[in-house]
Subunit: 300 residues, 2 copies
């Protein structure tokens, strides 16, 4: 099978949405920019759009002939990259069933189960190893360390260290720095979400990530910025997994964020420290409370 053309399919779907908005499409390089793909892929997309009667394509002229219908889209599941597919399968195994610490991970078995080649699974595991949940035995299998209470504590310890430092750096940024505009924009979004929390509480996790990434970036330290990937990954699956009191939790968090934003805007280090600490404390509590009792015992 060698390589799926998910990049093409995903870009095609995104391009279909562009069609609605105008009578004709821009130049090939411009489309490539817009979709984040190469011209080669853009041309494949245009070819198919011509074939299916969506556009008339003659050199620079790309006239839209009709609005896209649902049949025009490629199925969502065909637009995922292999890495995403593997990650999902792996995380399902890791979180859902009894994935005990110490259990060994078999590349071949995983590959067969997911229906992909071993190389892709190997590469995924190598990339995944930086999250601290698995470990390799040289020339041999991987060992699962488990999503335990210990893991959550170690993760939050680093997170707190990094975020306190980043928040302090943020507050010290000059008044004319672009981040203050970004922060204002995020504040508006937070306010809007706070007002409609009853219906939109599930949109919080995405906003949460953007907010914290903005703060971490102020550290100007690649290790701190990169570490947020670990946190984001854990929180992403944690949100999917643990829906208990989601609305209430998010409501509290939004308010904490608003207080945190106000503190940052005051540029008073002491206030920032207090607001940051408060939010981090409740974030830690939320994460810890979501770890099933059974897993706490596996620590040994």
């Amino acid at each position: 099978m060698s390589k799926s053309n998910n990049v093409y399919k995903d870009a095609f779907n995104r391009c279909l949405r562009l069609l609605d908005e105008s009578r004709s499409l821009p130049s090939e390089p411009e489309l490539g920019m817009l979709l984040g793909v190469s011209r080669t892929t853009v041309r494949s997309i245009l070819s198919r759009m011509e074939e299916t009667g969506l556009i008339a394509w003659n050199k620079r002229n790309k006239t839209v002939l009709r609005a896209p219908r649902s049949e025009d889209f490629f199925p969502e599941e065909e637009t995922d990259s292999l890495a995403e597919i593997i990650e999902r399968s792996f995380m399902r195994r890791l979180l859902a069933e009894g994935a005990e610490a110490g259990m060994q991970i078999n590349e071949l078995e995983l590959a067969r189960e997911i229906g992909v080649g071993t190389t892709s699974v190997r590469e995924f595991l190598i990339r995944f190893s930086r999250f601290g949940l698995i470990e390799k035995r040289r020339n041999s299998h991987w060992v699962l360390k488990g999503f335990t209470r210990a893991f959550a504590l170690e993760l939050t310890e680093i997170r707190e260290m990094f975020e306190l430092r980043s928040a302090a750096a943020f507050a010290a940024l000059p008044q004319d720095s672009a981040v203050w505009v970004d922060l204002d924009r995020l504040e508006v979004e937070h306010r809007r979400l706070a007002n409609e929390i009853a219906t939109r509480f599930n949109e919080f996790s995405e906003l949460d990530e953007r907010f914290h990434r903005l703060i971490h970036r102020a550290s100007h330290n690649r290790f701190i910025v990169d570490f947020y990937d670990v946190i984001a990954m854990i929180f992403h699956y944690h949100y999917q997994w643990n829906k208990a009191q989601e609305r209430q939790r998010n409501e509290v968090a939004v308010q904490e964020h608003l207080a945190y934003i106000a503190a940052l805007k005051s540029r008073d280090p002491a206030k920032v420290d207090i607001a940051c600490r408060k939010h981090l404390k409740s974030a830690r509590q939320t994460l810890l409370s979501s770890i099933p009792e059974g897993r706490q015992a596996q620590l040994a």
Copy 2:
């Protein structure tokens, strides 16, 4: 070529050294333990030792017939794993010639140059990416971020944060913890090295790593412990690369370590903090001074 038998060759060489010490060899499982390889590999080793007349092997009896000669050993270069070979080649390129930030890294070219398959290079780059020196463009090439002054500063910032915390945790460890014995042992080694610094100064880097890893382990945090891999890697190549005033630098560092050890043994948090800060400061200076002027400019 599929897979080199470097594991076997390396274990064989190490096994030859064991031969000197006794009249006969232990059981197969025991040998496997000793050499860190499976019984399958042990049996291959024993087979060859029998063939070359080094031992007489009959079931449980493995009698040493003669002392190993230099021809019995496999050449050193055949005992390296592919990953080690790739890392060395890559680091040579990165440090030696003008490896400028922003430069793109080509998997295929690297693989051809080193004479290995692309898969191994890909896997190496993925593993290597956690050191923060390279970054992947999705579906495209890797980008070199360069061993710049900015990199060194970001690295040392985290290092200092982590080590101060670990050192404090270390000092707070109970008196009966095993680490105090390890620390005593390291102190003795430091004293010995200090006395013979004129001739043995190049042995410091190995001792340095063991000392700092011991301290970091006291954090009981996998992210802190794992981060030392980044530091160790950089220092490893830094030592190879920059030999200026090596003796003097190491002499100073040994003394700082001894003061640091004394502070830890005092278990006084304030003293630990001072000694740790002092050492970290000079370590940072050493690293920064080794970065060529040309590279500082590439920061932009």
